[in-house]
């Protein structure tokens, strides 16, 4: 190779590739003093980007609990894997596509779905469910409506076409997301436990195969873009957003599944962020191998593409496969049947180097292990967050409950998301047992009477006020939602969305939230098996609310033991379980924000031992068959939860025995609580048994009528339904 670079690297080149001066010094060290050429600089740039290297968060991510007897593969692979019995494994992960979705909402969100699907099926799993956690700015912000419309239709456009049901998720609004929306997509797949595919390359001489779509010039530097803040010119980055083709993805899923059923694959990885660079580099690195690629063999969509462009392109729907020797023709036939590109683009070597050839010339020659080893890892300075004062109920305005309830049911964060999920095919594959709108989505394991329960949660206003408690709460809420349908929570994926980690107060949020997540995972036996970090979610220096979105997965061993949140029958007793004496936590509540227009105070603390005890007990009750409905308490507290149960069952309730002061009891957001209903005749025995088990319990009313009745006053369900169902369609229908 002619090591003399064709063009000298300028300080400007280094800057546009997102490398700091110190990082560039490391580049020179890795290369033994020689300057990189542009291809090599590009490769360093993406491999050392925040997005690919986790350089700011790695130190703290390492502290998360990732092990349990049912964990088959924790973080580090394309997705995490858990054993769900009967020879099957569930494979899942959540990943962000925040920056591209803000710039080009339809394609940004669509390719987010495509990317996470590939992360899951690359491991041998057929995707069975998609979820998404979305955060938008203030509904009144001029861009919000356009972003909501684009993101929702992008998620639908992609997921509907590939034929994987989108079964749930969450949508929040807050002004802190005005300049940085969050689009976090999660996929859950199912695989045979003994047929899981990994990405570590092995076998010098084995062919490196490229399959899927052709490589174009789209998405170059996407990973670098996702590692910087936005400013007024961010819209100019539109060309870095990739374009999705769900039809090709569907073909790619089927072709990969067909190939995986044979014995041809040694290892496989999708080309996600940083495309061909990260896939080939990571596969070789994990396996301690070298790799040599012939860039002329890469299927190209456009003429005259350079190796630099090919290596950094983020064209979608592509996979890299290391085949076992002699399997090329078998694999080629399958991909040709599905009308996808198939090309042998190189082979593994035992040199430990990444060598790229173009027209016979060596255009890149990098040492893989030293580059990976030298990948920056920062112990960034961080500031502990300031503890907020506890807000006393007596200091919060006690608004008449009927008015407060109406306000909350129709507020942007509580209103029904029907407008969103009716645009998603949530029924294809015919295993969606609980559709969107419940506590957790329940998806049957095909051909069995077992099911997975899936929930995504995070309450960013809690995390902002106290990152540690907020981190705990996000984990606990998924655990509670999964418990509320009767499932055993097994593991989580975390999608950590924060601002600029170079600011100590933001780094403090990251550190403390991770500590909170870790504590909750340990206490609940609920390890982290995969995840993604999205930093630099700031515009003009203004960060988002810290948003560590958690996706939890649990198992229902017997679908006949499942419960739903809808009230079932007139006269059934309503029991509140898990309410500790110190009732009525209004700090950081939606009541405070939506009814009193204040965002303040400490968020409700999560007593993890209590959480565990109450949840395990409730799950046992559900399995005993005594419970007719169950719902966890979260945003809006007791009254919002009861109203959701009433609306779902089209049955009202008569409430009594509510503690004082009323606003705190009805709208406080104390954690670790559930409402259950039982037949009237079972009420006393259930209460006694629950208390005997050390779980606080009391009857707070009975199901019946067509309104919510309390203390001689009532609100008709139909009025509440109108408010609850009305907000979203009305908002989206009005002109911007």
């Amino acid at each position: 190779m002619n090591h003399a670079p064709a063009k000298r690297i300028t300080p400007e080149d280094i800057k546009t590739h997102g490398l700091s001066d110190d990082e560039y010094k490391k580049v020179l060290e890795v290369l033994g003093g020689r300057e990189p050429n542009m291809v090599e600089l590009g490769i360093f740039s993406v491999m050392w980007s925040e997005h690919c290297s986790y350089k700011s968060s790695k130190k703290w991510l390492k502290t998360l609990p990732t092990k349990a007897s049912w964990v088959i593969c924790g973080p580090g692979e394309n997705a995490g894997v858990i054993d769900i019995g009967e020879g099957l494994a569930a494979i899942f992960k959540m990943e962000s596509h925040n920056h591209p979705s803000f710039i080009e909402p339809y394609q940004g969100a669509a390719t987010g779905v495509g990317g996470i699907l590939r992360d899951v099926f690359t491991m041998g799993a057929r995707p069975i469910a998609n979820m998404n956690a979305l955060r938008f700015g203030d509904p009144k912000h001029p861009k919000t409506k356009h972003l909501v419309a684009g993101v929702v239709s992008g998620i639908g456009g992609y997921g509907n076409c590939v034929g994987v049901p989108t079964v749930g998720g969450e949508v929040n609004f807050h002004p802190s997301y005005n300049g940085n929306i969050l689009v976090n997509a999660m996929t859950v797949g199912l695989a045979q436990k003994d047929k899981i595919f990994y990405s570590a390359a092995a076998g010098a001489g084995n062919p490196v195969v490229y399959v899927g779509s052709k490589t174009g010039r789209d998405g170059i530097h996407g990973a670098t873009m996702a590692s910087t803040e936005f400013d007024a010119n961010s819209e100019d980055k539109r060309p870095t957003v990739q374009v999705g083709d769900p039809f090709t993805e569907k073909l790619l899923i089927e072709a990969c599944m067909e190939l995986m059923a044979t014995d041809a694959i040694q290892s496989i990885q999708d080309m996600g962020a940083a495309g061909l660079t990260s896939s080939s580099f990571e596969m070789a690195s994990k396996g301690g191998m070298g790799v040599e690629l012939n860039m002329n063999a890469v299927p190209q969509r456009e003429e005259g593409m350079t190796p630099y462009e090919m290596m950094l392109s983020e064209s979608q729907e592509r996979m890299l496969i290391i085949l076992k020797p002699g399997k090329e023709e078998l694999a080629r036939k399958i991909f040709e049947k599905w009308e996808l590109d198939f090309a042998v683009i190189g082979h593994l070597t035992d040199t430990g180097r990444m060598v790229l050839k173009f027209h016979g010339e060596t255009v890149c020659d990098l040492p893989i292990d030293p580059l990976a080893q030298a990948s920056p890892e920062y112990d960034r300075p961080w500031l502990a967050s300031t503890k907020q004062p506890v807000v006393a109920a007596k200091d919060v305005k006690n608004v008449p409950w009927r008015d407060a309830l109406k306000t909350l049911m129709g507020c942007p964060d509580v209103a029904s998301r029907r407008w969103v999920w009716e645009q998603y095919d949530h029924m294809v594959m015919m295993d969606t047992v609980q559709r969107p709108g419940g506590d957790a989505a329940v998806v049957r394991i095909h051909g069995s009477n077992r099911a997975l329960a899936i929930s995504t949660d995070c309450t960013p206003r809690y995390v902002k006020a106290n990152p540690f408690e907020g981190g705990k709460q996000a984990v606990a809420e998924t655990w509670r939602n999964i418990t509320a349908v009767g499932a055993r929570p097994l593991a989580i994926t975390d999608n950590l969305n924060f601002g600029n980690p170079q600011k100590p107060e933001i780094m403090g949020q990251i550190v403390e939230a991770i500590q909170g997540i870790g504590d909750a995972c340990v206490a609940l036996d609920y390890p982290v098996i995969s995840g993604n970090v999205s930093l630099y979610n700031e515009t003009d220096g203004k960060p988002i609310l810290p948003t560590p979105a958690i996706g939890g997965v649990g198992l229902l061993d017997n679908l006949d033991q499942m419960t739903t949140l809808a009230f079932k029958a007139e006269g059934e007793a309503i029991l509140l379980l898990g309410q500790k004496d110190d009732a009525g936590w209004l700090g950081q509540s939606l009541y405070l924000r939506e009814v009193c227009f204040e965002e303040k105070g400490a968020p409700p603390p999560v007593d993890l031992a209590h959480e565990r005890k109450v949840g395990d007990y409730v799950r046992g009750l559900i399995h005993s068959g005594k419970i007719t409905a169950c719902h966890d308490l979260s945003d809006g507290g007791l009254m919002v939860a009861l109203t959701e149960m009433a609306l779902a069952g089209n049955l009202g309730c008569r409430l009594e025995n509510i503690a004082a002061p009323l606003h705190a009891a009805l709208f406080g957001e104390d954690q670790g609580r559930y409402i259950v209903t039982v037949k009237a005749a079972d009420a006393v025995a259930t209460l006694e048994a629950t208390k005997a088990a050390g779980v606080p319990a009391k009857q707070i009313g009975a199901v019946g009528g067509s309104a919510i009745f309390l203390g001689g006053e009532s609100v008709e369900l139909e009025a509440l339904r109108k408010l609850h169902e009305g907000w979203f369609p009305a908002y989206m229908a009005t002109a911007t």
Partner: protein, 230 residues
């Protein structure tokens, strides 16, 4: 009864309807890849399933309608073999000329996935024999292009010949504009050919044919086919 499901690149309800058929038939359904024109000779029913054949990139169903296997399906249909075409399948068979009319973009311009109610308008076919005219079924839809359109003469002919199989309706069976999820003319959700051997419909009967999924109103269609064609 022997049934087969056509699989186009981009079909995604092929497995679903095969599962629903198998529940009623009690034996496996044949899956036919779009490039196979060698359809088994003893078939009683062929299903053109839902999905996004060829990505729906040109116009929904347009490319699939011209695939080799559809020429063969058409030939068999003309000889009287039953064809059930659901969702994208309905779009494909209208493009192929097996049924009149077209499916346009939904009135609301958005993809819609939800349960709708259908009033049964015909019980004189192998598909609808187990329903009674006037029955109200709850069946899901999932489409962005289900807005049925045909010219007045065609609509009149369909009505005169009793070939409207299902109409979108309220829970009580009333045919109202509010109950119409996509703007279809005369609330039409499904139509039959003249010989009543081909049924095209936008709703997915297979999606509510299992108690665990919350409803079984679709199952009678598969049972009727088994009884009629056994």
């Amino acid at each position: 009864m022997r049934a087969a499901v056509i699989v186009f690149p981009g079909s995604n309800c092929d497995r679903d309807i095969a599962v629903a058929l198998e529940q009623s038939i009690g034996k496996p359904t044949t899956m036919i890849w779009h490039q196979d024109t060698d359809i088994p000779s003893d078939l009683d029913l062929i299903v053109v399933p839902g999905g996004f054949s060829y990505g729906d990139y040109l116009r929904c169903g347009a490319m699939a309608a011209h695939s080799p296997v559809m020429r063969e399906v058409k030939r068999r249909a003309e000889k009287g073999m039953r064809v059930l075409a659901v969702c994208n399948g309905f779009q494909i068979v209208t493009e192929a000329g097996l049924l009149p009319g077209v499916l346009m973009r939904n009135r609301g311009l958005k993809y819609v996935c939800k349960d709708v109610h259908l009033r049964v308008e015909d019980s004189q076919s192998a598909f609808t024999a187990k329903y009674k005219v006037g029955d109200v079924l709850r069946i899901p839809i999932g489409h962005a292009e289900g807005n049925y359109f045909a010219d007045e003469a065609t609509l009149k002919q369909l009505e005169d010949e009793g070939r409207v199989a299902f109409r979108y309706c309220t829970t009580k069976g009333e045919i109202t504009d509010d109950a119409n999820p996509n703007g279809s003319q005369r609330n039409i959700a499904g139509v039959l050919n003249k010989a009543r051997t081909v049924l095209g419909m936008m709703p997915h009967p297979e999606r509510l044919a299992d108690k665990k999924l919350g409803g079984t109103d679709g199952r009678a269609m598969f049972e009727a086919l088994v009884e009629t064609l056994a």
